[in-house]
Symmetry: C2
Subunit: 539 residues, 2 copies
Amino acid sequence: MTYGDAAGTGERADMRWDGWGDPARAKTLPASLRLLLTSVVGRVPRRVVAPTWDEVEVITPPLDAEDVAALAAVVGAGNVRTDRDARLLRAGGKSTPDLLRRRAKRQEAPGAVVLPGSEDEVAEVLRTATERGLAVVPFGGGTAVTGGLAPHAGAHRGVLSLDLRRLTGLVSLDEVSGEATLRAGTTGPEAEAALGARGFELGHFPQSFRFATVGGFAAMRSSGQNSAGHGRFETMVTGLRVVTPTGTLHLGRAPGSSAGPDLVRLFLGSEGTFGVITEVRVRVHRLPEETFADAWTFPDFAAGADALRQVAQAGTGPTVIRLSDEAETSVSLAQVGAIGKALTKGCSVVVLHEGPAGLAAARREATSRVLAGAGGTPAAPRLAASWEHGRFDAPYLRDALLEHGIFVETLETATTWSGLHGLRTAVTEALRTGLGRSGHKILCHVSHVYPTGAALYFTVVGDLGTDPARAAETWARTKAAVNDAITAAGGTISHHHGVGTDHAGWMEHEVGAVGLRVLRAVKAELDPARIMNPGTLVP
Amino acid sequence: MTYGDAAGTGERADMRWDGWGDPARAKTLPASLRLLLTSVVGRVPRRVVAPTWDEVEVITPPLDAEDVAALAAVVGAGNVRTDRDARLLRAGGKSTPDLLRRRAKRQEAPGAVVLPGSEDEVAEVLRTATERGLAVVPFGGGTAVTGGLAPHAGAHRGVLSLDLRRLTGLVSLDEVSGEATLRAGTTGPEAEAALGARGFELGHFPQSFRFATVGGFAAMRSSGQNSAGHGRFETMVTGLRVVTPTGTLHLGRAPGSSAGPDLVRLFLGSEGTFGVITEVRVRVHRLPEETFADAWTFPDFAAGADALRQVAQAGTGPTVIRLSDEAETSVSLAQVGAIGKALTKGCSVVVLHEGPAGLAAARREATSRVLAGAGGTPAAPRLAASWEHGRFDAPYLRDALLEHGIFVETLETATTWSGLHGLRTAVTEALRTGLGRSGHKILCHVSHVYPTGAALYFTVVGDLGTDPARAAETWARTKAAVNDAITAAGGTISHHHGVGTDHAGWMEHEVGAVGLRVLRAVKAELDPARIMNPGTLVP
């Protein structure tokens, strides 16, 4: 078994078991992070010894032979897998707590992995699972970071992982309307490759882009790094096909409709608890003719945030705009070898403009005028180039630090512009209190802006000790306090990581008791046996 | 009793009973329409005699004394009205079939009009209505055109009209975030006046603007004439307060959230069937510093539509962009006195740009470049000025024609760009077949564009005879055939008029049987006694 091995279809590589992505891309600690570590914990710790793949034992029994036979009758025997490797690779997502749990030798896992080859097979699997009392956890790219892939059986006899990797590809592209239909299991790169061959782009680039799937983007209300220009994923979705245990929905008849509530939006963010998204219709656009990447610097975070606000409210049209606080700026500068220069006291802004020839340049000019007017100074473009170059690689750095016993995790929220600084202070204080006297550093950036507000994204780097279980415990306590602080400060419990099992306890704050009743009523109607993703979303 | 009389608070004028708006603005037939009539029916018909206000009899009994006492205990005796005038003025909306029905002397009406003064009173009224078995029809500006205000009691003893006109005004304005909270009963002009005094604008201008309310915009998924720039109303809404018979929701915590499905969107478009929207939080923007109004002409509808598509897909940022077909263009030209000129063979496009100084001009330049490249020719700006001047007056012209026995009605739908011409042909053919040998004219325009598609808006002018009941019958048959044609051609049953009772029969085509089950499940949870707006939305 190697991590790059194919499973199911023999076509797609799995992510490594105990870390992010492709092991061939795993990083050793770069010099810039060694510098950071020295400032955080005063030393570069040694590598921590973790169990090898072969040492890991799955303690959850596989589904029994009758269950397997019933599922095999639907999808074919080769598409029901109960071997240790297949099950272990669908045992959860890729949050830091997920990875800390993988430092243990005994692991829970789904009782089987089922790989349907068509929408009809998905429907039949859900019927079979309902009849046989099996819970179902839909599985796309496996990049979840809020516990939504935890193999919870709920009140059921067992749980199966429904891996959608056989439902891939571009179903159709309407070049006139700029609409593409993609099967749910299509990954980000697969989608862009298929569209790019026809001169189009989806333009959704979350950090999970290389592995996550279109169905996952929809189920989680994902937001990509180009959200300033192309919108959150939910604004790209024009239609959905959703298979529930009691029937299939084909939603989204027109780009503008007032025919009752927009039910597409009820399934975006449903995180596999109502059913399985099998196809997603999305707005796509022509590949850009021009691209500009710029960097700016601002004297402090408040000035930078106000500049981003002005850009978002004027609607000058950047594709990407992001502001790093002083701490993150100094790490970024270290990565481009510029640490120690005059700029390290300020906050950097990276801004990308794209589009048809002429229009992208006009947008860039309009944005630049606002940024300059708001007190910004043009900075070395290599900062922007460096961000672009490394935009999907942060999880590898996280893993490299984890392997040295250094805890790294990210969390995010969003609120109105007027509430932004209060929320940032509240989260920072909760983090500081939770992490206590341990050496740690908190980095923060704004990378998703809206006319009325923005998201805050925090990266925590800390020395929580070399015992993974104790580090996880400290973090769980700290994260709970942060969630309380976010709620009290008026932020949302998640801007783009979703709810999963980790945030489910805060959903009542988010939507109220009546909102929870609505979600439960929809679930009861579509999934009366409650087989879909138990424990996720609604507690 | 005069039509301008106040009801309830003594503050707001009611619309006239048997027509649109303010009777002081009622129009006689302008010369341009006389010309149109000559071309449609070969003559300018005489005025038709209709019952006077005093001749109209309400056949629905008022609520009984016990009901009235129970409601008065909640809102005060002066805010429960059972007099004929108050009830008659809430007997329905303002579609042409509504107005044709008003030609009869005997009328149905709600059994009482209840005017709550606070959100708590709304909640208490809904509890009282549930206990006493009374249906509730929320009433905002009374501008509905799809039957959603029909006083249907459903299975209940009686029905009350819940008029929200006492819940008005700006609750708060966050100038930094560009967010305003408005009470649901605030009308369009009231909202803009309150915001304008602070230098802000909502920018939602549907044709109903002068009378319709913020709560109505939200409940109906309204779309305004500036939708190209400011979006549909649903994209402006950042939060809602909704009182249901079984609890109150406060929804919308942050501008970007992935905390489960966006429940705000479940109540936008719910048309009063789940509960009563009492407050709406909306994105607002600074009043524009620059405004440009331009007109263009295209050789034909297909060329014009393709130009609008290119503008929408490039995102050049017009605030308004609309294309009239040949027939509508010639009527518009007649209105500015230019009929007979060379342009009458083409299709006119009106385009407005607004925004901060500099940016509006840059947007205009970008749009102009696309329009010119797509085969457009600049046309007399007075066409644009004339459209702006008369943008809210079409219903008065409709009434003037109705008073001469000429049937006028509008309908609308939306689809993808690639489906637009097929849909237009299908609707036009269904209209022609339905209207048969009667003299009639069909005008069409595109006034709401999206990157992936657009709305089609049809105006039908026809000689369906002077008997209102027969005209209504012919239209009902024709409209049903049009709805079938829309459905078959892949359009939505409504782009911005909503579902009401008129379109409820087509909702299964729109969202499928499983979608209807979801809507019914939400309703059953929130309104188990089914008192809210019976007959509307879900059949």
